[in-house]
């Protein structure tokens, strides 16, 4: 046994029904260290975290904290043992104050009543320890997501946490917010807390972590010191195959003659008050148009207008040269437009239906309920697309809600690709999914374009937008800033336009 380990998990196995989520996995956390847990979607990271935090019981294996074997009956028991968790989505109450959130459920009391002055004092103390300059009496909802995240961390460490689990804490933060978060994480590390850090962002992992554990398909690949492993080694440990899929996608730019063809979709002055200022945009067959901009720049809002998910209040749209009014998604689908929304869980996934039913949903919807797709055809479509997109598990009867994020995304892509759309709008199709699936999806987009589909591609990862797009529309503060084409589609240019709006150029 390793004397210095604060938490030692050995031989952890967990099964959900027939699915073996974890098989004999080890994990050690040391005080004063940031330990990254790495793996593709479906590798078992979340399951492992949940066994550590008492959410899932283990089928086999042992968890020791400070050398003592423990069996957590629930999250509260884990917390009592000094293990605190901050999840990806902030699980706090935005209508309460920062201080109330920090101490919710463990407010200092005096004579059976909450001692509000004590709450404020204790909250200020905790915030001060992390060097966070926030007024404890301000409502939590008034602050940015990043700050709410930091408050969640402060809450987690307020209980004298010895182990802090951070599950994808940075996925909705921008660069400066990430820096702020890391400053807090480092401070906690110095104070001797063991930190388990889960993230898809490889650069961040290398920046913050001291050690990492890599999982693949529910099994342990290995534990590495961050200093001893290269990015390439890490990625191949996670993906488990040589990285041909990750090779640079060399997309030939769209045929210059494309101008002769009418655009699949053309928007003139398309806008919606409060969402996006009027935009001109044309997408031709076989062309990938990227929408680049920060979160809240209006990229999602524009995509929703193009699909009729929201109604435009100004401007005109033509599809294949003919003017149309897209009042509903249904009208857009009938015009050959497909849309994979940003918020997969809320707007895409029908969790309690099977993978098969989800794949055929859009096609079935456009046929109407009277004309059911024959079962054999459904099976054939599901099998073909599961294989084509490498969806795992390769079981058409699995409920979609049980699949990992990346595999859910592939199912949603399959849902639209079987309808053979003329225009494919993809809003963040690669967000929160692992390297392997990401590369597969990028390759798929390139292939669709090669086959003549027009694509509108949105991603927060600018290098991805730049790599895939023939043209890029840059958005900033809900306004179109510039359109780049050909040689001009370049990461630096896009970043500069996003940063300055083009005003500071020249």
């Amino acid at each position: 046994m390793d004397r210095s380990a604060l938490v030692e998990m050995t031989g952890i196995s967990v099964a959900f029904g027939p699915v073996q989520a974890l098989q004999s996995v080890d994990l050690r956390l040391h005080p004063g260290e940031v330990h990254a847990l790495m793996g593709e979607n479906g590798a078992g990271k979340s399951t492992l975290i949940k066994t550590l935090t008492g959410v899932h019981p283990v089928d086999a294996g042992e968890i020791r904290v400070r050398g003592e074997p423990v069996a957590f009956a629930g999250p509260a028991a884990a917390q009592a043992a000094g293990i605190s968790t901050v999840y990806q989505e902030v699980n706090l109450c935005p209508n309460l104050s920062v201080g109330e959130n920090l101490l919710l459920g463990r407010e200092p009391r005096r004579a059976g009543r909450i001692d509000w002055r004590g709450v404020r004092r204790r909250a200020a103390e905790v915030l001060g320890r992390l060097h966070l300059d926030v007024d404890p009496s301000s409502p939590l909802g008034a602050h940015s997501i990043a700050l709410q995240q930091l408050v969640a961390i402060a809450r987690a460490v307020e209980v004298e946490a010895r182990v802090l689990v951070l599950d994808e804490p940075t996925s909705s933060l921008d660069a400066s917010e990430v820096a702020e978060l890391f400053r807090v994480v480092r401070r906690l590390r110095e104070s001797g807390v063991a930190i388990l850090f889960v993230s898809h962002f490889i650069e961040q992992v290398f920046e913050i972590s001291d050690r990492m554990t890599v999982l693949r398909n529910g099994r342990l690949v290995g534990e590495y010191a961050t200093a001893d492993i290269s990015r390439r080694q890490l990625v191949s440990a996670m993906v488990g195959r040589e990285l041909e899929v990750l090779e640079q996608l060399d997309r030939a730019p769209a045929e210059p003659a494309a101008d002769a063809e009418p655009p699949v979709l053309a928007a003139t002055g398309l806008g919606r008050r409060g969402a996006i200022e009027p935009v001109d945009l044309a997408v031709r067959p076989g062309e990938v148009v990227g929408l680049a901009g920060l979160l809240g720049s209006g990229r999602t809002e524009l995509a929703r207008l193009l699909f009729g998910a929201d109604r435009a209040d100004t401007g005109e749209l033509t599809v294949g040269g003919r003017p149309v009014r897209l009042r509903t998604p249904r009208a857009a689908i009938d015009a050959g437009i497909a849309f994979s929304p940003e918020d997969r869980k809320a707007e895409g996934v029908v969790a309690d239906l099977s993978v098969r039913a989800n794949i055929v949903l859009a096609m079935q919807a456009s046929r109407g309920w009277m004309r059911r797709i024959p079962r054999r055809k459904q099976d054939e479509l599901a099998r073909r697309w599961i294989e084509l997109l490498d969806i795992r598990p390769a079981d058409p009867d699995a409920l979609l809600g049980n699949l990992s994020g990346g595999n859910q995304q592939k199912v949603l892509l399959a849902r639209w690709l079987i309808t053979q759309p003329r225009l494919l709008i993809l809003d963040e199709p690669t967000r929160g999914i692992d390297v392997g699936a990401k590369a597969q999806i990028q390759a798929l987009v390139a292939e669709q374009a090669r086959e003549g589909t027009a694509v509108v591609f949105i991603s927060a990862e600018l290098d991805e937008v730049v790599r895939l797009s023939d043209r890029v529309l840059v958005l900033r503060d809900r306004r179109p800033v510039a359109q780049l084409a050909g040689e001009d589609v370049e990461l630096d240019r896009v970043m500069e336009l996003i940063a300055t709006g083009g005003g500071a150029r020249a």
Binding site: A73, E347, V349, L361
Partner: protein
């Protein structure tokens, strides 16, 4: 045993066995004047209105909705049919009865469309939207009957509940036919899947091009039609329309039947067979109260106890507890899926 507990069959079986113990002739069925008679036939006959109301409710609940106006629509449909028959110049003719039935169904469809309009079009929460009709509709029924109990004497109308087809009471035939039709339609078309999709994730369904509004609209109209047929059965049974009491609280029994049948009130996956079982269970329970001779003043308490028992037995926590006890008794611990104790954790390696 575990499978039996998971399916909602056992309460029905248990109730039937209890009846058999009290009254050995309980399962006897005899043929008389071309119609079957017996306690089991009575359960089916008396349970038909509830089974129909619960069927409509199942689809509504599957779309994340609920329809509180079912009982009221029962009263309205009986009131409209009986008032029409009673006030017509030829109150005994089949034609008059048919027109009255047609009017009742048409009005019910309109009321269902109203519910659908509030829920699907205006986006009002279903419980509020249908509460409007639940309360206001009784007033409408009283307006139709002028506050009186309307009695009719029409052989055709009485035949809805009094006649038999191939010895089977017509009520049972009608209910069975509607169940078969819905099972067929939802399975053979994509309606079942689309209803579930809308119930599980309305926004995702909309963005996938599902016409959620018309689906929601349709299920409310269907639920109202089911309630109207139930109302015709009930008023035909007594040859009268009682605007105050007909179908009173029927919506709650219908919801109960759906839930006993295993359909979640959160919407999504539903089970038509489960609802049928649920409705029969509730009706059998009512029959049991009479046959076992439970005093009327404690009959509701008895009903409540049975319902609580059924739900407890279906609750995942209780089931897990029973499994664990059984395993301990069996003295052969298999690799536990839910248990955490260290001794079983070690045995897996």
């Amino acid at each position: 045993m575990r499978d039996l507990l998971r399916r909602p069959v056992w309460p029905l079986v248990a109730l039937l066995l209890l009846n058999l113990a009290v009254m050995p002739s309980f399962f006897a069925v005899r043929l008389q004047d071309g119609r079957l008679y017996g306690s089991l036939i009575d359960i089916l006959h008396n349970g038909a209105p509830l089974a129909l109301a619960a069927l409509g409710m199942t689809l509504v609940i599957a779309t994340r909705g609920i329809d509180l106006s079912v009982g009221t629509v029962v009263a309205i449909s009986g009131a409209v049919a009986c008032t029409w028959i009673a006030s017509s110049p030829d109150p005994a003719s089949p034609g008059t009865a048919l027109t009255g039935i047609g009017l009742a169904l048409a009005l019910a469809a309109a009321l269902g469309a109203w519910n659908g309009f509030l829920v699907a079009r205006l986006g009002i929460q279903p419980i509020i939207a249908t509460l409007v009709l639940m309360t206001a509709g009784r007033g409408l029924a009283q307006l139709v009957t002028d506050g009186q109990i309307i009695t009719v004497n029409n052989g055709f109308f009485a035949g809805i509940s009094g006649s038999a087809l191939l010895a089977v009471p017509l009520t049972v035939v009608v209910a069975a036919a509607v169940y078969a039709l819905v099972a067929l339609v939802t399975r053979r078309t994509a309606l079942g899947t689309l209803v579930e999709a809308v119930g599980i994730n309305p926004e995702a369904s909309r963005l996938a091009g599902v016409r959620s509004q018309s689906i929601v609209w349709t299920v409310y109209v269907f639920a109202a039609l089911c309630a109207a047929v139930a109302g015709l059965m009930i008023s035909s049974n007594v040859n009268a329309a009682d605007a105050n009491n007909a179908g009173l609280w029927l919506e709650l029994d219908a919801i109960l039947a759906v839930v006993i049948g295993g359909t979640s009130l959160a919407g999504g996956r539903y089970s038509i067979a489960g609802t049928l079982l649920g409705a029969l269970t509730i009706q059998t329970l009512t029959t049991t109260i009479y046959s076992v001779g439970i005093p009327p003043e404690v009959s509701l308490v008895f009903k409540a106890l049975v319902v609580i028992l059924v739900f407890l037995a279906q609750a995942p926590k209780v089931r897990a507890l029973m499994r664990r006890r059984r395993r301990r008794r069996d003295d052969a611990p298999p690799p536990a899926a839910t248990a955490v104790p260290a001794e079983t954790a070690g045995s897996g390696r």
